[in-house]
């Protein structure tokens, strides 16, 4: 039962073939059996989940306020605030933090009647591409326990891939939804910047962060996005534009769809296995009647440099709030205020977070601001312009989501630059603020490969349509 998608389970729930409580209990049984190996969750909320499932069953029984998510078990990334429940960001500095309010996304999930199973592991404060930077635990890739699940939403991706949840929320600053989806063989969508409210998402890099769905198939991703999306007065960066009916865009007729293949992401640095899977996917699109062309986005050469100046700069500013005063860890070794700050932050933050705070502070500091931060903001303009140009001639752009399949735990842990370079395909999308989805499109040695489909700002419909058409004519999303 738990290997089914949310839309399949919805049918069973409304036909009363299963109950929501029964479904939640099955998920917790599964968690009991696989979680000791996978370690996807930081916190499990079984008591609350069963109560939510009972309430969902009541709604289903009375046929009142039933949504597509009513009674569906979902996991929440642990950087989204949940009232009365730990929100740790996988950091020692927040290990005991209990949010006094729900993130808007969490409120929406609750209103839809979904059942929140628990909070999932991540790279500390979402900084990383493997979930190895979690300050609390290491999550394994369900497809191969010696490998990373990707990151930073590695816990959410692993939970969905291992059937420890039916759906999950993720956040994506430089690929943190799409890359773990790719590594774990599931679907992950980063919506347009401004599409989903970030109220209650613990900020990492405010001009780049966006919340989105992780799911077993494209239909489920569309269903979860539908619930998440929309203007929120509590988030001044959320955009007040109408939210279309995403399920309506799920059609298989893509005749004439203009698909651009990004030249810069099909060359050097992309592994042969990945390249050949992407080429087969492009061939499939051609068979489906899409019009394929090659596009060049020369500024991509500078995307990693640009991102790893902007994101740490914003992070160093956002993380200044962790000072040991109002919440979180406070060092006991403090004689005065300044040593309290020093020691609290030294004890509370892990290595990658410290690295980025130093890098970001440096890039913003007097004498270096123009040379690093301002320069990066200007190159960001070039990247955005390259996308605009390419997307004026194409409906969607495609590339690999990641240059390789999931790598081994520990493989890149001591070489931050090589870890950063692995984000090359996903980073430009955040810098430009456009939407993108990763879907399974192949395997190499039984490890999944993801196809990234990018679209115009606020046009999630077209990437969903392109993803759905591919999924319906292949069976990569069914491989376990």
């Amino acid at each position: 039962m738990i290997d089914k998608t949310a839309h399949e389970l919805h049918d069973l729930l409304i036909k009363k073939k299963i109950s929501s409580v029964e479904l939640a209990e099955k998920v917790f049984l599964r968690i009991e059996s696989v979680e000791p190996q996978i370690k996807a969750y930081i916190t499990l909320t079984k008591d609350e989940a069963i109560k939510q499932a009972e309430a969902a069953d009541k709604r289903l029984k009375e046929n009142k306020n039933v949504t597509l998510l009513t009674g569906i078990p979902i996991a929440v990334k642990d950087n989204m605030c949940t009232k009365g429940i730990l929100t740790t960001c996988a950091s020692k500095i927040l290990a005991n933090y209990i949010a006094p309010y729900d993130a808007t996304v969490v409120t929406k999930l609750k209103e839809a009647g979904s059942v929140i199973i628990g909070k999932t592991n991540l790279d500390e404060f979402a900084m990383g591409s493997s979930t190895e930077n979690s300050g609390l635990q290491i999550t394994k890739n369900p497809r191969d326990l010696e490998r990373v699940p990707g990151g930073s939403s590695g816990g959410s991706a692993a939970a969905v891939a291992a059937n420890e949840a039916i759906l999950a929320t993720g956040s994506d600053t430089g690929g943190s939804i799409r890359q773990p989806a790719s590594f774990c063989g599931i679907v992950g969508l980063k919506p347009t910047y401004g599409r989903v409210s970030r109220y209650g998402l613990v900020a990492f890099a405010s001009s780049l962060d966006q919340i989105g769905p992780l799911a077993k198939d494209v239909t489920d991703a569309a269903i979860l996005l539908q619930v998440m999306a929309g203007y929120d007065p509590k988030d001044s960066t959320s955009v007040n534009v109408p939210v279309p009916d995403y399920q309506k865009s799920l059609t298989t007729n893509i005749k004439g769809l203009k698909v651009g293949v990004i030249k810069e992401l099909m060359g050097e640095g992309i592994s042969a296995d990945v390249k050949s899977a992407i080429k087969s996917a492009i061939k499939k699109y051609e068979e489906l009647g899409a019009v394929i062309s090659e596009v060049s986005l020369p500024s991509f050469e500078y995307a990693v440099s640009t991102y790893y100046l902007i994101a740490p700069a914003e992070a160093s500013s956002n993380l200044a709030r962790f000072d040991g005063v109002k919440y979180g860890h406070r060092s006991q070794e403090a004689k005065d205020l300044i040593t309290m700050y020093y020691n609290t932050r030294r004890e509370g933050f892990g290595a990658e977070v410290k690295r980025r705070i130093i890098l970001g502070t440096y890039a913003l500091s007097a004498g270096y601001y123009d040379a690093y931060y301002l320069k990066a903001l200007k190159v960001r303009t070039l990247i955005k312009q390259d996308f605009e140009k390419a997307l004026s001639n194409c409906d969607v752009l495609v590339s690999p989501t990641s240059p390789t399949v999931a790598f081994k735990i520990g493989e890149k842990a001591n070489d931050p630059l090589s870890m950063y370079l692995s984000d090359i395909a996903t980073i430009p999308v955040n810098l430009a603020g456009i939407p993108a989805i990763s879907i399974p499109c192949g395997n190499a040695n039984n490890l999944p490969i993801g196809l990234q489909i990018m679209g115009k700002a606020f046009d999630e419909e077209t990437i969903l349509k392109a993803a759905y058409a591919f999924e319906q004519s292949t069976d990569w999303h069914l491989k376990k």
Binding site: Y101, S305, A320, G324, F349, A432, A457
Partner: protein, 92 residues
């Protein structure tokens, strides 16, 4: 490329061990050296993008609203007294 780690760590109020200073110095040096590739571009005429979408100030109506309950906010404080956060003495 050499970062004055000591100075930057002070700006960030971030305590680092000697080991960390050494490791970060090397790693960040490598990263900044990589970022030198930005110098290949002529960007003198390009304006910076700080947000991907157009941002404007958002104002809300000036009306009284109920605050979140004080108790659940205060109980996260590492040291509190009568709804106040305690910190080490800041003035002699």
């Amino acid at each position: 490329m050499e970062i004055n780690i000591e100075h930057v760590a002070h700006l960030a109020r971030l305590g680092l061990s000697d080991e960390e200073k050494k490791t970060f110095s090397k790693q960040l040096g490598n990263i900044l050296q990589y970022a030198e590739n930005l110098n290949k571009l002529d960007i003198s005429d390009i304006s910076p993008t700080s947000h991907a979408i157009l941002m404007e100030n958002v104002m809300r109506d000036d009306k009284v609203e109920k605050c979140q309950d004080i108790e659940s906010i205060m109980k996260n404080g590492p040291e509190i007294e009568e709804n106040m956060f305690k910190v080490p003495r800041i003035m002699e």
